[in-house]
């Protein structure tokens, strides 16, 4: 049995070595994805375009604007003098928000009156709008605080802030979303390359008819599937090394945890993904169909359902259940735990168990389908 598995694994490696085009795709495509997604998907909102309608033109209004633009969050793109222009500016997307300082703002401030500053936000992208609003709230609060302490200081009273919230974000200190996304991205890249490569390799044998010769040999479908899997495990591991290295160089993604744990869990995930690929091959007859099913079945769930981009907790309960169909969901948690937190197996043994279960079920299913197809 070992000899037969070795024969098929060796054969597969030799074929792969000659298929330079496939090898090129297998290694360059992941890097490309990493760079594109890594730089493009960034949920931190910076450089919000802001237009100001300053009806007060006072020291305070200018000071407030300065406090906004001194961060990288807001960029002042211009001033307007006419209230009627606001709509036009937002419609034409010349700015994402317009700030209106009322007449007499300064006067009211020093008369101990409450002042209302207006901000009009382009609400088309709800996510960004919320972020802008939050930033703005924060800016208003801190400005108010400064103002109060100034007033009190003038009156000779020393002020202090009773309670202050110091947000400390564990594991991802500067809350950069890229940092948080990369593990999900790695999971997605690995599952796509694994599923596509192995399913194509098996279906190619169906198309060319070489599978007939294997079917008539004493090779069992189990041996054949294991033999086919080994070379792709090696390839996928190499891809993992490439991505982790690139992730470290480009995005400073660390590996805080145990390397050995990382290797074992990655192997498990690759094995689960390859089994998904084998399953795809057992239901497709041509490489074209296999490619389509493979990309859909690997890419969609691992982007939408894995928690990679959309948090699972905020999905409706039935969808939350559905998220279990993708092993990426579990590997992503493991990767975040190992890479970013550096914690041990006690934190993610359930996810590991799930990956084992997932592989076993799929391998069983594909072996069964392979056997059944002989009935014709």
């Amino acid at each position: 049995m070992l000899n037969r598995i070795k024969a098929i694994a060796l054969k597969e490696i030799r074929q792969l070595k000659r298929d330079t085009r496939m090898l090129f795709v297998l290694f360059v495509f992941p890097l490309l994805l990493l760079v594109i997604f890594g730089y493009a998907i960034n949920f931190d909102v910076h450089h919000i375009k802001m237009v100001v309608l300053d009806q007060d033109k006072s020291f305070d209004s200018r000071n407030f604007i300065n406090s906004l633009t001194s961060s990288s969050y807001f960029d002042l793109v211009g001033y307007i003098n006419d209230e009627n222009k606001i709509k036009e500016i937002l419609d034409k997307k010349e700015a994402q928000c317009v700030i209106v300082f009322p007449k007499d703002m300064s006067r009211q401030l020093y008369a101990n009156q409450n002042v209302k500053i207006q901000i009009l936000i382009d609400g088309v992208d709800g996510n960004t709008a919320t972020v802008i609003q939050n930033y703005f709230n924060y800016a208003v609060q801190s400005y108010s605080q400064k103002f109060i302490s100034n007033v009190l200081a003038v009156k000779g009273i020393k002020s202090y802030v009773p309670i202050d919230l110091e947000p400390v974000f564990w594991f991802n200190p500067d809350l950069s979303s890229t940092f948080f996304l990369i593990p999900g991205l790695i999971a997605m890249i690995l599952i796509i390359t694994a599923v596509v490569s192995i399913s194509l390799s098996i279906v190619r044998e169906k198309e060319r008819g070489t599978i007939e010769q294997i079917n008539v040999s004493p090779l069992t479908s189990f041996e054949m599937l294991i033999g086919k899997t080994i070379p792709y495990i090696i390839i996928s591991l190499l891809i993992t090394v490439v991505i982790l290295t690139a992730g470290y160089i480009l995005f400073q993604i660390p590996i805080k945890g145990n390397y050995f744990l990382l290797l074992i869990t990655t192997l498990l995930f690759i094995f689960a993904s390859l089994n998904l690929g084998i399953f795809v091959s057992s239901v497709s007859q041509t490489q074209q169909v296999a490619f389509q099913i493979a990309t859909i079945i690997s890419m969609l769930p691992s982007t939408i359902l894995s928690g990679f981009i959309f948090p699972i907790e905020s999905m409706p309960v039935p969808i939350q259940w559905l998220t279990n169909i993708t092993p990426s969901k579990f590997f992503l948690i493991i990767l975040r735990d190992i890479l970013l937190k550096g914690v041990g197996i006690e934190a993610f043994w359930q996810q590991v168990l799930y990956l084992v279960l997932f592989s076993a079920i799929l391998l069983g299913l594909s072996t069964l389908i392979n056997k059944r197809s002989k009935v014709g």
Binding site: K11, D19, G209, E212, Q213, G376
Partner: protein, 321 residues
């Protein structure tokens, strides 16, 4: 095994009422036959007759819908895995890996059949010799000429020295000289005692077979040696006519009630008739009426092709009724 163990009389394949349905379509329809040990068994039929389907059942690749076959002593229904160990198979599609070298193909299939070390080296030498590829092990299989590829495929199909080998249209798309060489190789295997089960489209190749079985629409319509087939089924006389305007003449003959079958062979027409003498005069008279000149008219021994055309037409007419 049920039959006497006297060499040459033992059956290496016994097929009993084998049927294969794909949905409601019956590809193989209750066929039964025996193949003797060491013989070359020709399985003939038109496209879609069910040849490949039958072979794939006998090789244990697909399960029959009903019936059974004993191949090399094992039932394809109950012990397909044991069947597989004892047979070689060359599928209709070219079955080697084009993107592997000659040697890599040999190593792979040798490995799959559990050949190692010395045994593998021995068999590798034999395969290379048989395929005329000694010293060319590093060539990519896709770069080999068609005839050589075919020899390599056959040699690899028997790399594990099985008792029985199934060849599904092994000479498809190969030039005539390579075909003849290929049949010499088949003969060699048969002399070594290997049973060869072969399907082909080429009727001249059927002459090389010890025993021939003809199937049509999944059913056996004739079987025997080539000589038996020519005498047993065709009781009529076969006349070969050489004349002008062959196509027109063929058309005229096929409308005559004294002509049973017509077929065209290059510039000649073959007609099958019951009585030679009356047919000769009727043929001359009819063609003369149509201003077609007869150059020559001879009684001939029917070829296998004549027999098959006759049998196929008869069977097809029966099926239509």
């Amino acid at each position: 095994m049920s039959l006497s163990s006297q060499k040459g009389n033992m059956n290496s394949i016994e097929v009993k009422n084998l049927t294969k349905k794909f949905g409601s379509f019956t590809a193989v329809d209750g066929i039964s036959f025996n193949v003797k040990e060491g013989e070359i068994f020709g399985f003939l039929g038109a496209n879609g007759a069910g040849k490949s389907t039958a072979i794939r059942i006998l090789c244990g690749i697909i399960e029959p819908t009903s019936g059974d076959a004993i191949v090399g002593g094992y039932s394809v229904m109950n012990e397909p895995d044991k069947v597989k160990l004892n047979i070689g198979y060359m599928s209709q599609k070219f079955s080697l890996y084009n993107d592997l070298t000659v040697e890599e193909n040999i190593n792979f299939f040798g490995g799959v059949y559990g050949l190692i070390k010395n045994k593998l080296e021995d068999r590798k030498k034999w395969v290379l010799k048989v395929a005329y590829l000694e010293g060319k092990e590093k060539l990519l299989t896709k770069d080999l000429p068609g005839g050589i590829k075919q020899r390599l495929a056959l040699a690899i199909a028997v790399i594990h020295e099985p008792k029985i080998v199934f060849l599904d249209e092994p000479t498809g798309g190969v030039d005539p000289i390579s075909r003849r060489n290929f049949w010499e190789l088949i003969n060699e295997l048969s002399h070594k005692g290997i049973t060869v089960f072969v399907t082909t489209h080429y009727l001249d190749e059927a002459e090389y077979c010890n025993s021939i079985t003809l199937i049509n629409a999944g059913k056996i319509i004739a079987s025997g040696t080539s000589k038996e087939l020519k005498t047993k089924y065709l009781t009529n006389t076969m006349l070969e006519v050489e004349c002008d305007r062959v196509v027109e003449a063929l058309d005229i003959f096929s409308k005559q009630d004294w002509v049973e079958e017509t077929s065209i062979f290059g510039n000649y027409i073959h007609i099958s008739v019951e009585d030679e003498n009356s047919a000769r005069s009727l043929a001359e008279k009819t063609l003369k009426e149509n201003n077609i000149k007869i150059i020559r008219m001879d009684k001939i021994v029917p070829t296998l092709e004549d027999v098959f055309i006759y049998l196929l037409e008869k069977d097809t007419k029966k099926n239509v009724k």
